[in-house]
């Protein structure tokens, strides 16, 4: 059911008030990562490898250290795996350390090898030029298929885990296989089987704010860190491990964050700034340049994929199989498993099998990017479905409806779905005027479905009431796109006080319990659930105070419209007692009233979307213009619909960039060729049409108000939907992203 057709049972939820941090953000007052300043502050800069793969023979920092303006120089020797009291860092912490500061080898172009702190940013940059590094250049590989070949250079021996079958190249570090049924029997039942090969390039999250931090660490092991991050507790934990200090001694404050999309869920410069600060005994500010962001922070994985699907003439899918090979840079972590698990998840399949590979190459360590792994798989699978529909003369929405997963479907990745909203998004797509609008010559239309799991994660929220009846909510998930507003709306809904009377603060690590990162589309779901439960916890206490005053049992009091009221005629005849009346005297009636909630919510409902896109291809130049775009997605329940629409639109726009022009381009020398926004082409305002949205609401049974996460699913369908539109416009199948003009023109000329 579309949003506007529903009569809301909510008073605040579903409205569109101004965001609480709006004023700060339109006046330039909001403090982002690079906006902090501390007395005596030094400026840091990082020296990076120009080689894709090289042994570090020698680093001589003496000339830099001799400069008067330079107060500290650090290398790997200054981190915890080399210091006496915390040797032998293992697992992902070791990987992060190795990425943050190279050890024996530089593993990619841009890999940090040393850092300096000096009295000005210019002095720090100048000092870098005086650090001498002797490299022994080694053979490198940046392509996923080549990295799996027997003769490929080995990035690191022994990086593979137990899941990798014997006989694979050491660069294959994780293997995933899942599915059910008998795919060969399924293919035998099909009237048409199509198998095809698909390739996507690595793309960057492209947040406009480069990584930035301000670190202070004393040799007493106590530290303060200000940084732009999606999750400051993970920063606290990781930095503490890398620096060899106690976690609780490091207080991390999340600045306002200028975009993350998954890319700010780990650390890059923060441990380096802390190490510099410890050595210089002064605060150190470190800010990445844009080029450093591209070269050395996580892009997404690139993929090489083979997908085979069998279909009957009536559109029934009889079997589906996919092999997904993802490279994630010089460390384990490419989400080949996620790609495999999500690829066929929208469909009710009897026979399905998927395989995913995590492969290492000489590229920066991949980081999460909005539904990590899912868009690539959807591109391959939904392209094959589109081709099957074209060949069999079937309507692409009808075919998807016929095969759509629903409540009770055994998902391709294992579990049975609870109540889900895929069918509703497809029905809304079919009914949308966009789907039946005529196309002009040269235009093509594409549709695609997409799936993402959504995530719960560790969550703590505290809510404190003030004497005047206002409320402050402390959450631990950085506000990356309006979440203060949705938290305040949910708290207002429970407390029954105006939205404006609630202040939501992103608390630092010293003032709230652990919180997982703002990722996995979890904030409105998990922090929202925790906010609701913390508010309910406070309401229980409010009711207790009213019950005590009235002299009736607490279960004879209920909470309605911001007031304690007797639960029924038998409870007694008392006037409603407003929240502010209770809080005004709370100091005398039992003390401050707060609400708390800490848990790891497990009920994040999975979500689905369907996108419709029209594309026009210039057959003389291969250039594609997106002429119309519609996103239809199940939000479960939209708390602040304007920001839900914003997530849909933003996901679509990033998908358009990924589909058409964005890519990491490596030269033969293994160096990144396009590490500035001029040549890493994210969509600009004039590239895009308005992006229509339809919010479908099929409530998630796992959230008190029905919320499903909305942040990530929106980037899953665009690659495929646009590829289908371009393919239908061009009259040939585009199997490689990005569909840049040279690639499309080559295909049109028959050289593709």
């Amino acid at each position: 059911m579309a949003l506007d057709d529903r009569k809301s049972e909510f008073k605040f939820v579903g409205t569109r008030p101004d965001r609480p941090d709006g004023l700060d953000k339109v006046t330039g007052r909001a403090k982002f990562g690079a906006d902090a300043h501390a007395p005596g502050m030094l400026h840091g800069a990082i020296l990076r490898s120009p080689h894709a793969h090289a042994r570090i023979v020698r680093i001589d920092t003496s000339r830099a250290e001799a400069l008067k303006d330079v107060k500290a120089v650090v290398t790997r020797a200054d981190f915890s795996d080399k210091v006496a009291f915390k040797p032998g860092l293992k697992g992902e912490f070791w990987n992060v350390l190795e990425n943050v500061m190279a050890g024996e080898k530089a593993l990619y172009d841009g890999h940090a090898v040393a850092a300096v702190a000096a009295t000005s940013a210019l002095a720090a940059r100048d000092a870098l030029k005086l650090i001498e590094v002797e490299y022994e250049v080694l053979p490198h590989v940046t392509d996923v298929d080549k990295a799996m070949q027997p003769d490929a250079p080995v990035i690191r021996e022994g990086a593979a885990d137990y899941s990798v079958p014997e006989g694979m190249h050491p660069n294959v570090v994780r293997y995933h296989e899942s599915g059910h049924g008998d795919v060969e029997a399924g293919f035998a039942e099909a009237d048409l089987v199509i198998e095809d090969h698909f390739v996507t390039e690595a793309t960057h999250q492209g947040y406009i704010e480069p990584h930035a931090c301000l670190a202070t660490l004393g040799n007493d092991g106590k530290g303060e860190l200000w940084c732009c991050t999606q999750g400051h507790w993970i920063v606290q934990k990781t930095c503490a491990a890398l620096l060899g200090i106690e976690t609780s001694q490091l207080r991390v404050t999340a600045s306002e964050i200028g975009g993350g999309f998954g890319g700010k869920t780990t650390v890059f410069i923060e441990p380096v700034a802390l190490a510099l600060s410890r050595k210089a005994n002064r605060p150190v500010k470190l800010v990445m340049s844009r080029s450093e962001v591209f070269r050395a922070t996580g892009p997404t994985a690139s993929a090489s994929m083979d997908v085979r699907i069998g279909m009957k003439k009536d559109g029934t899918i009889t079997a589906a199989q996919g092999v997904f090979r993802l490279q994630g840079g010089a460390f384990p972590g490419a989400p080949g498993d996620m790609t495999a698990m999500c690829a066929f998840a929208p469909y009710h399949l009897t026979n399905v099998r998927q395989v995913g590979y995590d492969v290492m190459t000489n590229r920066p360590k991949q980081a999460a990017y909005r539904a990590p792994g899912a868009p690539m798989g959807a591109f391959a699978v939904e392209s094959v479905i589109d081709e099957l529909c074209n060949k069999l003369g079937l309507d692409p929405i009808d075919v998807r409806l016929k095969n759509a997963a629903h409540e009770g479907t055994k998902a391709s990745y294992g579990p049975r779905y609870e109540r889900i909203g895929l069918v509703e998004t497809l029905e809304a797509a079919k009914a949308h005027p966009h789907y039946s609008a005529p196309l002009k010559p040269g235009q093509g239309r594409g549709i695609s479905c997409g799936f993402w799991f959504n995530h719960g994660g560790e969550t703590s929220v505290s809510l404190a009431l003030s004497e005047d009846g206002s409320a402050q909510v402390m959450v631990g998930t950085p506000d990356i796109g309006g979440s203060r507003a949705s938290m305040a709306l949910m708290a207002a809904e429970v407390l029954g006080i105006p939205y404006e009377n609630i202040r939501v603060t992103v608390a630092d690590t010293a003032t709230l319990g652990y919180n997982d990162v703002s990722h996995g589309s979890r904030v409105t779901y998990a922090s929202g659930l925790a906010t609701i439960k913390a508010a309910r916890n406070a309401v229980e206490k409010l009711c207790e105070r009213a019950a005590a005053k009235w002299g009736i049992p607490v279960d004879a009091v209920k909470w309605e419209n911001g007031c304690a009221v007797p639960s029924g005629p038998n409870a007694g005849d008392f006037d409603p007692m407003p929240l502010a009346e209770i809080t005004a005297s709370m100091g005398r009636t039992g003390g401050p009233i707060s609400g708390h909630f800490e848990a790891t919510p497990e009920g994040a409902g999975v979500s689905f979307g369907t996108h419709i896109v029209d594309a026009e291809v210039d057959r003389e130049t291969g250039r594609t213009t997106i002429t119309r775009y519609t996103v239809i997605q199940d939000a479960g329940k939209a708390i602040h619909p304007a920001y839900v629409e914003g997530q849909y639109q933003g996901g679509a726009a990033q998908g358009i960039g990924w589909a058409l022009n964005e890519e990491y381009i490596y030269g033969e020398d293994g160096r990144l060729q396009n590490s500035i926004f001029l040549d890493y082409r994210i969509p600009v305002a004039s590239d895009l049409p308005m992006i229509d949205t339809v919010i479908v609401e099929v409530p998630n049974p796992g959230h008190p108000f029905g919320v499903r996460g909305v942040g990530e699913t929106g980037i899953v369908p665009p690659l495929a939907a646009i590829a289908n539109a371009v393919s239908n416009a061009a009259g040939l199948r585009m199997r490689q992203l990005p569909m840049s003009p040279p690639r499309v023109l080559a295909a049109l000329k028959g050289n593709g």
Binding site: R16, D18, R19, D21, G22, L23, K25, V26, T27, G28, R29, A30, K31, F32, A34, D35, H37, S120, A121, L122, Q205, G206, Y207, I208, E209, P210, E256, I257, G258, G259, G260, F261, V287, R290, I480, G481, G482, H640, A642, Y643, E645, G646, Q647, Q649, G650, A652, A653, Q654, I676, F677, L678, I682, P683, V684, A685, S686, D687, L688, M690, I691
Partner: protein, 159 residues
């Protein structure tokens, strides 16, 4: 290396600073004058987050040296509101949810203000091309364009 003394006007205030000739106007605004509203997203003039006006002309402050500001009139996002009265664009950006993370917002606002001063009735296409140098990675631009167009309409009615 000796620093250069610069006297200029920022948001109507006379200011002075000393800067290295290599420092950009953006560096000087942020580090010398503590005006951190303008952001550095790229340092190469490709993202527009550092947009300011110099003698009324929209520029990227990362593409201008601090020493070039001598004797100029600089306007930044910090000077957009009139006391506690927000500029209509600022109000509309909040109302339309035209920002998500907000890092591009100062630059977009300064650029949009320059547009409306030059062209009070821009088409959607003119607005999109004018703002093509202001990258936003969160919104897909939809709500930004709507907010600017709506502000323009409201300012036309008011005038």
């Amino acid at each position: 290396m000796s620093k250069i003394h610069v006297s200029t006007t920022v948001n109507g205030d006379a200011v002075d600073y000393l800067c290295d000739p290599r420092e950009t106007l953006l560096d000087c605004l942020r580090d010398r004058l503590n005006l951190t509203g303008a952001k550095e997203g790229c340092g190469t003039g490709d993202c527009g987050a550092c947009s300011v006006t110099v003698d009324g002309r929209l520029v990227c402050s990362c593409l201008m040296l601090g020493v070039e500001a001598e004797g100029k009139k600089i306007e930044t996002v910090e000077g957009m509101a009139d006391g506690d009265v927000l500029h209509p664009l600022q109000k509309k950006f909040i109302e339309h949810a035209a920002l998500q993370c907000g890092i591009c917002t100062p630059g977009v606002l300064v650029a949009a203000k320059a547009l409306l001063e030059k062209n009070p009735d821009p088409t959607e296409e003119e607005t999109r091309y004018w703002l093509a140098g202001n990258l936003c990675r969160c919104t897909g631009y939809d709500k930004i364009i709507r907010a600017v167009m709506d502000t323009a309409a409201e300012m036309r009615e008011a005038s």
